[in-house]
């Protein structure tokens, strides 16, 4: 699959004044499409993912894929009924070994990969079903051992 080198536009910076509940942030700055914060647990990057552009399935799969490499935390949805964007906090497993900025960029790329797969899955669903039907449909001829050649 062709790798994308630019940060996706749909990963935008949280608006000024956004409160990240439950975290006593001591420093906050913004870089390349995400917010970088520091609190008692160290550095973190916070991505805001537009769920109008990315499927939930893609976001969940991308997150599941990377939890063995980074620490992730999904911040609560915003106000009542506002489930259009999701904020994801990313932290390195080991302090000082990896830049949170790089981890965030890697996660963003992974998100694009999984979203592309979702699109391909949707576009090829019909063909896939036909192929599976043809492949396994032959099986009914062999339900009776007497018909086996």
């Amino acid at each position: 699959m062709r790798r994308m080198t630019r940060m996706p536009r749909m990963l935008h910076m949280p608006q000024a004044g956004t409160e990240f509940l439950g975290s006593d942030i001591t420093d906050r700055r913004e870089s390349g499409g995400f917010a970088l914060t520091t609190d008692a647990l160290g550095d973190a990057a916070i991505l805001t993912v537009d769920l109008g552009i990315f499927d939930r399935a893609a976001v969940f799969k991308a997150a599941y894929w990377v939890t063995d490499k980074v620490y992730l935390y999904f911040l609560p949805f915003g106000g009542e009924g506002d489930m259009n964007s999701l904020k994801i906090e990313i932290r390195p497993k080991t302090l000082g070994k990896a830049s949170v900025e790089q981890l965030a960029r890697d996660f963003a790329n992974s998100l694009i990969d999984f979203q592309t797969r979702q699109i391909v899955l949707r576009e090829t669903a019909g063909s896939r079903d036909i192929l599976l039907h043809r492949a396994f449909g032959e099986g009914h001829k062999h339900l009776n051992p007497d018909t086996l050649s």
Partner: protein, 77 residues
């Protein structure tokens, strides 16, 4: 030092949080306080025996809860 995190049960089903609490009961004590809007505050207290690994315990607990939540979410999609 206790760490608090606000979670949304639309993302973290109660069962996922419960499983994480059980899995990490030897490492930390987690209090769950229900909040309006299907949310809850988690207060995570690392047990003294593991105080030197506080960051690892807290973040691993949250990762475990998220893993369980994602398994549920993906199964329901």
């Amino acid at each position: 030092m206790a760490t608090t995190r606000l979670i949304d049960h639309a993302l973290y089903p109660r069962q996922a949080v419960s499983e994480a609490r059980t899995a990490y009961k030897d490492y930390c004590m987690v209090r769950v306080e229900p909040m309006p809007g299907n949310k809850a505050t988690l207060t995570i207290d690392v047990l003294p025996l593991h105080a030197d690994r506080e960051r690892e315990v807290i973040l691993s607990f949250l990762n475990f809860a998220l893993d369980k939540a994602l398994e549920t979410q993906l199964a329901n999609l």
